[in-house]
């Protein structure tokens, strides 16, 4: 009830609620009996259309108790739970608190299932069918939205099933990527290189992986690459896992292959973000995920294969 700007409305609603409930009780009490004209209780005395009478078939008395019980219940409920204006209730119950309790219960119940894997080596988890089965479910829940259900990724989201790694494919590097996330930034070089310069560099980059390229542009691009790109991607273009700079000599392209895609990357730069997971995944689950991802790249394996 924090949206109330003044305490008045809280009191107003609380009073309105209590008065209404008490009015219901009074109504029940006073209307349970009534005086009717006539000398018999056979009918209620109502007559419609001249001759249609209404028989008096009283409800059993316990039925009226049900009405009183609802009144008692509502008062008890309002005393225990929030409902009367801004009064929080004697139990202090909130949805958030209940969620926290349920989470704690679930963690207490299911935590041990994960915890037994927390201390195990990632490489070892990658060959443990039970760990892989759990890892796969965690992957489908937390990772598949970007990296695809098979871990194969899509444009802009790295493929985790090959051996090409932006930030390194060791168990430690994979864990670090999951825990803290990664920010892969390539600055835009369009203004610095100019349109022709960008095209020349692009052709040199294409030539690095043996893709078809214009030899004149490749020759012109080589010194430009050494000046502007080699800092991150290395003089040989093999990339640098410390910076997340991709290897340009393989034929794996995160943002699309071919001249236009590469020109776009050089001109506008790229800004890739892998979110950190340490805030909402416990260490044991991260360990299991790392094991699963490691297995994807090491064996191209899924738990089905491991089973």
């Amino acid at each position: 009830m924090s949206e109330f700007t003044s305490e008045f409305w809280s009191v107003y609603i609380a009073l309105l609620t209590i008065v209404s409930i008490l009015a219901c009780a009074v109504l029940l009490w006073t209307q349970g009996k009534r005086k009717v004209a006539g000398t018999t209780t056979e009918t209620t005395g109502h007559t419609w259309d001249g001759d249609l009478g209404e028989y008096n078939n009283p409800l059993p008395r316990w039925w009226s108790w049900l009405f009183y019980i609802t009144i008692v219940f509502s008062l008890g409920y309002l005393a225990l739970y929030p409902g009367l204006g801004s009064y929080a209730g004697a139990l202090g119950w909130t949805e958030v608190k209940q969620l926290g309790e349920e989470d704690a219960r679930a963690n207490a119940q299911f935590g041990p299932l994960y915890d037994k894997f927390a201390a195990q080596d990632v490489a070892k988890l990658a060959s443990n069918p039970e760990a892989l089965a759990i890892g796969q479910r965690l992957f489908l829940n937390h990772c598949a939205q970007c990296h695809a259900a098979d871990g194969g990724g899509s444009r802009g989201f790295p493929n985790l099933t090959d051996r090409d790694w932006l930030w390194g494919g060791t168990p430690e590097a994979i864990k670090a990527s999951i825990i803290d996330g990664r920010a892969g930034v390539m600055p835009p070089f369009g203004p610095a290189l100019g349109e022709q310069g960008v095209k020349d560099v692009a052709h040199y980059v294409l030539s690095l992986s043996g893709s078809p390229s214009d030899s004149i542009r490749t020759a012109r691009g080589k010194p430009l690459f050494a000046q502007t790109c080699a800092v991150c991607h290395g003089a040989d273009g093999r990339g640098n896992p410390a910076l997340g700079a991709p290897n340009l000599t393989d034929r794996i392209w995160l943002h699309g292959s071919g001249e236009p895609a590469i020109i776009e990357t050089i001109t506008k730069g790229r800004n890739n973000q892998m979110p950190a997971h340490k805030e909402f995944l416990p260490a044991s689950k991260i360990q299991l995920l790392a094991g699963y991802v490691y297995s994807l790249s090491e064996q191209g394996a899924s738990p089905a294969a491991a089973k």
């Binding site: 009534r34 871990g151 194969g152 089905a304």
Partner: protein, 492 residues
């Protein structure tokens, strides 16, 4: 059908006596204290039928929970794991259609029985009737006959009265608790429940704790209390005030519906007479006005006032009246199952029964038979395998080495059989289409698995756009167990 005469519409038994006062106005209560009904025990043809059904339903109910099937409880509604086991069948949430069918069959069955012979369900098979019958039997054994019970209730509290009442309620509570326990046993494995319930306390967390879980305890007590309250205390009030069936039965009755009928033409004018007296000479009908039909009535009505909504069709009055007729040497059937038309047109018994095969009943029976057969065939052809295909939303379409187009799907494979199986996954619908991920998947008994599946199509085989494809999931070693599921392959 025509409405019964106005007098019969009201509750003859429960209505407060018409108080005639000289005053012009009268205070009238909208609620009244229930007048306790003391039904007299009755024996006879229909009472025997009711007891047969009490035994049949209760043997199934109390015994069924203990049956085993393939090392598990034969009938178990496992809500936590969302699986319903009924003998050899395992129902998953996806099988909810069968619950719908069951409800439709029950409803149509009720329509059919009601159209043919009135409230058969109420009189013989409804748990309210069945448990009331059991509880009244206990009451009769402990407190004695109707007259003895009425006398006991009016007598001041004595040690004997206290003892009898305590004994009755103890037996009632025992039956009720066992009923509650059995009911919960259909939702929690009853053997484990029994072990827990008989262990009482278990040493855990540094002190004795109840072995039975709090929720099991609650529901056992809840259903136990419901049985005790409904069969011991509420009785006919459940039928009169809570059950909606009494209120819409008139929509299902017609002039050829068999209902408990008092043959007024034969019975009136009623009156007491000695057995030797000549009723014709006295100008009396067959009704000796002994009141047995009212005394045996569990809802406290007088059937001689005609059909009333309180009448649950138990035929206790038929049995009671037949015995009196036998004693008087009159023909049986002053109160009998008959129809409005039969009484009005003086139809013979066979003429009356021939009218059972009227369009209304035949239509109900036809629809009922059709649905039962369809459900049976569907259950028979049911494959213990379910597959859901979910297209991967992250990778709509990707190009892989060699220019092949790859799509990723998640297959939820549910093995509803009670043995583990290995399933083969194939894709069909485009030339050269192929599943390149693991081609076979092991799924445990009565378990489900989400499997990522990669499907590839050679370059040039499909134009950019969407293409309908089908997944075929089949059990290896059992070709009959196969499911086809449609999906879409996207090329861009």
């Amino acid at each position: 059908m025509d409405l019964p005469p106005p007098k019969a519409l009201g509750s003859a038994g429960a209505r407060p006596a018409a108080v005639v006062q000289p005053a012009e106005t009268l205070e009238q209560a909208l609620y009244e204290v229930r007048k306790k009904i003391y039904p007299r025990a009755v024996h006879g043809w229909f009472a025997a039928w009711r007891w047969a059904l009490v035994w049949a339903t209760q043997l199934v109910f109390y015994g069924g929970a203990w049956l085993q099937w393939n090392d598990r409880q034969a009938v178990l509604f496992d809500i936590v794991h969302r699986k319903f086991y009924i003998l050899g069948l395992v129902f998953w949430p996806q099988d909810i259609i069968y619950l719908t069918v069951l409800l439709i069959v029950s409803a149509l069955g009720l329509f059919l029985f009601t159209a043919v012979a009135g409230r058969l369900w109420c009189g013989y098979a409804c748990p309210q009737t069945v448990y009331t019958e059991i509880f009244m039997w206990v009451e009769e054994r402990i407190e004695g006959s109707r007259a003895a019970r009425m006398k006991l209730d009016q007598s001041p509290l004595t040690v004997r009265k206290l003892g009898l009442k305590s004994a009755k309620h103890a037996v009632w509570l025992a039956i009720a608790l066992w009923t509650g326990f059995t009911f919960v046993g259909y939702f929690t494995p009853i053997r484990e429940l029994w072990t827990e319930a008989t262990t009482l306390f278990r040493w855990s967390g540094g002190g004795p704790n109840p072995a039975l879980g709090p929720w099991e305890t609650f529901w056992v007590l809840f259903y136990g209390f419901a049985t005790y309250g409904n069969a011991g205390w509420m009785r006919e009030q459940v039928c009169k005030y809570m059950c909606p069936y009494a209120r819409f039965q008139s929509a299902m009755f017609d002039r050829d519906t068999l209902v408990i009928t008092y043959d007024g033409g034969r019975g009136e004018p009623r009156g007491a007479r000695s057995r030797a007296a000549d009723r014709a000479a006295l100008g009396l009908g067959d009704c000796v006005d002994c009141g047995i039909c009212v005394q045996v009535c569990p809802t406290g009505i007088d059937i001689r006032n005609g059909l009333q909504y309180e009448c649950i069709g138990c035929a206790a009055c038929v049995d009671g009246c037949d015995q009196v007729m036998d004693k008087m040497g009159y023909p049986r059937g002053l109160i009998r199952y008959s129809t409005e038309n039969a009484v009005a047109q003086h139809l013979t018994r066979s003429q009356t029964l021939a009218r059972v095969f009227r369009p209304r009943a035949l239509v109900y029976a036809g629809i009922l038979a059709g649905i039962v057969i369809a459900a049976g065939v569907s259950l028979w052809l049911r494959v213990p395998l379910k597959v859901d295909v979910i297209r991967d939303r992250a990778a709509i379409s990707r190009e892989v080495e060699g220019g092949l187009i790859e799509n990723v799907f998640r297959l939820q494979i549910m093995n509803t059989a009670e043995t583990g199986r290995r399933f083969e996954v194939r894709a069909e619908g485009l030339p050269g289409i192929r599943v390149v991920s693991e081609p076979s998947v092991e799924v445990d008994a009565a378990a489900s698995r989400m499997v990522p599946v990669r499907v590839r199509v050679p370059p040039g085989e499909a134009r950019p756009g969407t293409h309908p494809i089908e997944f075929v999931v089949s059990a290896i070693g059992d070709e009959g167990v196969a499911v086809r599921e449609k999906s879409v392959f996207i090329v861009r």
